[in-house]
Symmetry: C2
């Protein structure tokens, strides 16, 4: 009997690992269980589908079940949900929803790629059918159908995270009146407050009603109840982030880690022999702090999946970790961050300094020269780069990659000032804004500037 | 008597160093000699002035002589040309063109910021007034006047370097018929031939007549003579690169180095005590090969100038060197390179491998997803990254900065595959093209793929 790998979850974590395992082990039997009706989709594309920049829902499918079956000989089973894992007997209990039957499937190796789900607040009415999380294409299908049926002209987004704000913009592009309700004093809590304020301003310029510091109290027929009164809503989108789908692993006795996600080592191995995890369901190491973190992003999921798949196939790959890079485009404004924000540096107990630089993404003398703001955080004394945030016009966001790469390399701000970055008038001022920020941060960190 | 710094040259190298020296030494007497009529201009902006994306010539002046005088107390002397340097007496012989007199000016410290000049081929008729190099704003002024007077409807660019090609596009935007004549089989010799071909294709799509493998023989009234026949021309632009203005230093007995540029150490010191150089007139160290190189680019000049100025003021700054990054936008196509091309790797005697990746700059499912090509070069065995070249649509060029930063850090291609780069559908596919290229390069370098 050939060795069998069972993969739980049909998106990036699961199918990426399955594909990579297949490349290394043509002989392996691979069964992939997916409780929904699709494989390998881009959840990040959903706001663009809603906003009209993607033509059809199926354009968001990277690879179909048939492609996995035909090209990679992976036995993909749709509408099959893993409901329990028995590590002693090395079996998964599977519910086949289509056939309404439950069976047990043995495994030699097992990979959790169970992903994450939108956080649903514990509020009255949260289970109403007009309240949508956005994670799977099935979610997207239901949401679009509801938007069509209800008119979808009044939309409330609860929570100011990335996806919530992208959905807010998408509905504005469909002609809806959109209100964003955020309990905290700023949207996009992964940024510092000063940078988050730039995002709120950009959204307000695009007629999105952003209400910070406003708690949501519940949901009722056609209305969202908030501290500051009722908001009419045909449709509600939850933008409160996601939680790892780690219960299945936890119930099987596998250790959970950061943010309740499945604990893994650098090889994506869980604490149980021959049991792996990859993607949004598991944790990562933050390379700036060394701490374990839960970063449910597609880029991370794909990298982890390749590492897990290589190791499942008998190789020795390692995923060193993340530096906390993320980006989003909202209302013509590009937003990106990497490493530690000021508040994260404070939380990590790091003595730090922060600088802000205003510049342009192209040479200032060109007729079109979008402005941008770069904030950079460095450790006092050592001068080590800790992180950066960028908010600005066209050409802003991907500049964060320089800082992300410098963080991987453990550079100081001073070292970063010497980087030989690309310059031509359509791409940058002669001093790239990232270099200017690094110079200021390096000077301030060395001078032992006022602690912020 | 206060200590006196004499700076020769009023652009980035000279004035950048003078400004930085002033910050560190409020007491220093600083005299800056500029043989032309302006200070601190952006030569890189000239094609955009010609093409109409910059309104006025003076928009390209970063800082005027009066600003240097008033804000930084730098004694800027326009139309003053240093004609000889006497290191023994520590004097510069200065020709004041306005007053038609020559005098000697003593110095304690001296900085060469003499820049570079367009290479003029030794061909009959090259001194005709319709043949223009593009380096100073005075050049630009003369060129624009000639274009107006002559009609400038038939332009020939001799040489397919960055500036030549930018000027070709600029004249096309003014409605001229433009021919580029390049002796080598490809334009943009800093790229490998396969990537250079993508540039030629882009220019031809924009109706620029690019003729490679065609030697220019000379210039005559209204005509450029080439191997392949005569080309009518109201105006000729030289795009053959630049040569360092290092004769003044060389004649004074200062050692010259790479490409005939002034030899300097990491502190921008020449071989003579208290004599410095910065900018296009001097050499740099290539951090990938360790060799001295002449890289006459504004980014490098500005960095060197700050280092020189800091040291002149008694500090201790170092300019480690360059990795050979450059970028240009031509006819809607973005082009960038860093590190070593394949041909440079071969020349450096490095056993290497190269990969090419075709991808998009945004998520492929978005309605607009410009394509790009990434070529990456890595050392066989060690897997060390050696360089990359990128040609593609909007959002391509600045991706090279990730590779440039990785080169500074001495990363292997495999290490680069793990970089936590920014992703959102408007900015990148979930696997950034740079990461895909790094993965392929890493695999091929480790596998000892066929030497290319």
């Amino acid at each position: 009997m050939p060795e069998r790998l069972v993969v739980i979850g049909g998106d990036a974590g699961g199918m990426g690992a399955a594909s990579q395992a297949r490349r290394g082990r043509p002989d392996l039997e691979i069964v992939a269980l997916e409780r929904g009706g699709r494989t390998s989709w881009s959840a990040c594309g959903i706001p663009y589908l809603v906003g009209g920049e993607v033509d059809r829902l199926d354009d968001l499918v990277v690879r179909t079940p048939d492609e996995f079956r035909d090209r990679l000989h992976i036995d993909v089973r749709l509408h099959h949900e893993a409901v329990a894992v028995d590590l002693d007997r090395r079996q998964v209990e599977v519910r086949d929803h289509a056939a309404s039957r439950t069976f047990r499937l043995g495994f030699d190796q097992l990979l959790f790629g169970t992903g994450a789900r939108p956080r649903r607040p514990d509020l009255p009415g949260v289970e109403r059918e007009c309240v949508f999380g956005v994670q799977t294409l099935d979610d997207a299908e239901a949401l679009l159908a509801h938007a069509r049926d209800s008119g979808g002209s009044r939309v409330v987004v609860v929570g100011g995270g990335y996806i919530g704000l992208e959905m807010a913009e998408a509905f504005t592009q469909r002609g809806a009146r959109v209100v964003v309700v955020e309990r905290e004093p700023q949207v996009m809590g992964t940024l510092d407050a000063d940078m988050g304020a730039l995002v709120s301003e950009a959204m307000r310029r695009h007629d999105i009603d952003v209400r910070c510091g406003t708690a949501t109290l519940g949901f009722d027929e056609g209305v969202v109840r908030t501290e500051a009164g009722d908001l009419p809503a045909d449709l509600v989108v939850l933008g409160l982030g996601v939680v790892a789908n780690s219960e299945l692993a936890g119930d099987a006795g596998i250790a959970l880690g950061a943010g309740g996600a499945v604990a893994v080592d650098e090889r994506q191995a869980t604490g149980a022999e021959g049991v792996w995890a990859a993607g949004d369901c598991c944790e990562s190491t933050h390379l700036v702090t060394g701490a374990k973190v839960h970063v449910p992003l597609g880029t991370v999921a794909n990298k982890q999946a390749r590492v897990a798949g290589t190791n499942i196939a008998g190789g020795d790959a390692r995923f060193p970790g993340v530096v906390g890079t993320a980006a989003v485009k909202l209302c013509g404004t590009e937003i990106a961050r990497t490493g530690l924000s000021e508040k994260e540096a404070t939380r990590a107990g790091l003595d730090h300094t922060a600088v802000r630089v205003e510049s342009t993404t192209r040479a200032g003398y060109l007729r079109e020269a979008p402005s941008l703001t770069v904030k950079m955080v460095a450790e006092r004394g050592s001068g080590r780069l800790l992180g950066a945030q960028i908010v600005g016009g066209n050409g802003s966001a991907k500049r964060i990659d320089v800082v992300a790469t410098a963080l991987h390399a453990g550079m100081t701000a001073h070292q970063a000032t010497q980087l030989d970055l690309a310059y031509a008038p359509p791409f940058s001022p002669v001093w790239d804004p990232v270099l200017i920020a690094a110079r200021k941060a390096g000077e301030q960190a060395a001078a032992g500037g006022v602690r912020r």
